[in-house]
Subunit: 357 residues, 2 copies
Amino acid sequence: MTTSDPTSFSAEEYFATQPPPPTLEHDISGVRDFVARQAKEGRKVVLVTSGGTTVPLELNVVRFLDNFSAGTRGATSAEYFLKAGYAVIFMHRQFSLQPYSRHYSHSTNPFLDFLEIEPSADGTISPPAICVTRNMRQDLLEVLTAYKSVHAAETLHTMTFVTVNDYLWLLRAVTQELCVLGKKSMYYLAAAVSDFFLPRQKMSEHKIQSGKGSLHIEMDQVPKILKPMVVEWTKGEGFIVSFKLETDGQLLVPKARAALDRYGHQVVIGNDLHRRKFEVVFVSRKSLPPLPPGVEPEPLPEQELEDPISTTFVETWIRIPVPTSSPNPATNQVKEIEEDIVAELVRRHERWVEEAR
Amino acid sequence: MTTSDPTSFSAEEYFATQPPPPTLEHDISGVRDFVARQAKEGRKVVLVTSGGTTVPLELNVVRFLDNFSAGTRGATSAEYFLKAGYAVIFMHRQFSLQPYSRHYSHSTNPFLDFLEIEPSADGTISPPAICVTRNMRQDLLEVLTAYKSVHAAETLHTMTFVTVNDYLWLLRAVTQELCVLGKKSMYYLAAAVSDFFLPRQKMSEHKIQSGKGSLHIEMDQVPKILKPMVVEWTKGEGFIVSFKLETDGQLLVPKARAALDRYGHQVVIGNDLHRRKFEVVFVSRKSLPPLPPGVEPEPLPEQELEDPISTTFVETWIRIPVPTSSPNPATNQVKEIEEDIVAELVRRHERWVEEAR
């Protein structure tokens, strides 16, 4: 695999040349109503994006390029945001993990295994009752209670995407709707977004025949949308958190800093593919304390002038004990790093809302 | 996208150069026990493959090429094979649809929606019972009863794959285990297998940096394994059914015939991407009735000599009314085409088992 001469779309060119998904208007109308309701109730709202985007290789999709992401980070975080009192717009890859149901994956914890058919005392109840087995009641009770509570309060709005094109159009439209909430909106961009895509003009209509020989795929870079998101779509008011996933741990902090510099958003959460369940790093700009009135800023010490990058960023590492999947005997809970990630973000967002512009 | 000079592996070269999945021995040992049990009970066994295979682009998988397949065909067919008394080895793409749980996708029919917490009469039952809502009891009863029955009889053996490499190694190993059952083994190859892959030697270790410029991916053809499967792995005794999915309906029958000719197996089921839920075509070789003893075969009439292809194949179209997802009021069942596909295959397999070699 090689990279070559740039064929890059700006965000503007992208939206001018690629068609919106057919359900866009309908999807956004639902978001608009949801946001209006939260605004009325004074609630903070977080957009959580989750799962991988695809790049179809043909118009009649048989093959596609995909980004590895079960959606664990997003689905788990959404639960903790809801618990913390946020309203959540959960924009996820269709069929990837969702809050609450994520605990009962058909592959690893199939719910059919813990249902039993109750024999009725006199045999006349038809159809018979079907209930959760005794040993699973506590587990289900907690999840089901939270689920029902969120549904009753209508604080969770769920949307799906499949392709990177769906994702980009949706992200822009949802962000523009959330703009009315000003600083009370947070953006938790945990989705694994394709770096490369096939512009519609380059896609073939029918399934590419395998025939003989090898297959060459030439793809263009997906436009970086964080900059327009910060500057135009949220007008600098949204609290924007992006993620960096790397397989080479050395690249995490440098790339996170570079992204903050380039895009001007609030936080980059860096994670190493192999350590992400128990360790992440928050990278943000160092905020200077406000000066008392009448005091002039001191000139920067020479060391800081020589090394401008390191003076402006701060890293906060969040770690939990390496999960062994043995629950805490007192609570029967397995500790999840997302609890701490969300707690930290809730604190920082609170400060963001409070501080003067 | 373009195709170029062939870089093609034979099946033999493939297995000689690509590493087996680490869980292969463990997986096959489970299959061996399962097959031995079915042999003892005289049961027919069908290997159902289902879902798409992936081609990872990096050794630390961040991106991969995938084949579109929810696994509906395979998961649904497996249920009907089980109902018909077959034992099923269900070899599917991890997290794709499975028999029974397929009815309760977390996206389209989440089970948390039809559980309720039962208030206990005296408030002392803790934790309280959690049961299926009254209106869903009948639905669940049917699926749950079939599920429990299959689990009690141990007639369903489930295995997973992710990459095309996993798939090829598993397919060969499982087929070799099923060989002991001779003609009683059927192979229902519904998985969407990658046509192209990246040999391990061409894969990069770390996530490919997007940097600047476009991305070029050059891939090699996946070896065709149907031929060795028919000739070597099953020694001509297995009843092998492969699928062809096309987006251009005109290609269905010609390609199906070409495959039968090239590989020598029993049935190709052709389906058009947009019509596959209500229409498929079975393509097979026309079987001539046995001649009475002492009678010589007549010379072929001239028309058949000119058009040899059409004289040796027969097409059987299976169609159901276009599904509208309104259940039959009498049975509350939605008709599924897999019911008819499986019924037809069960009949043909019965003839295969009975006919003299």
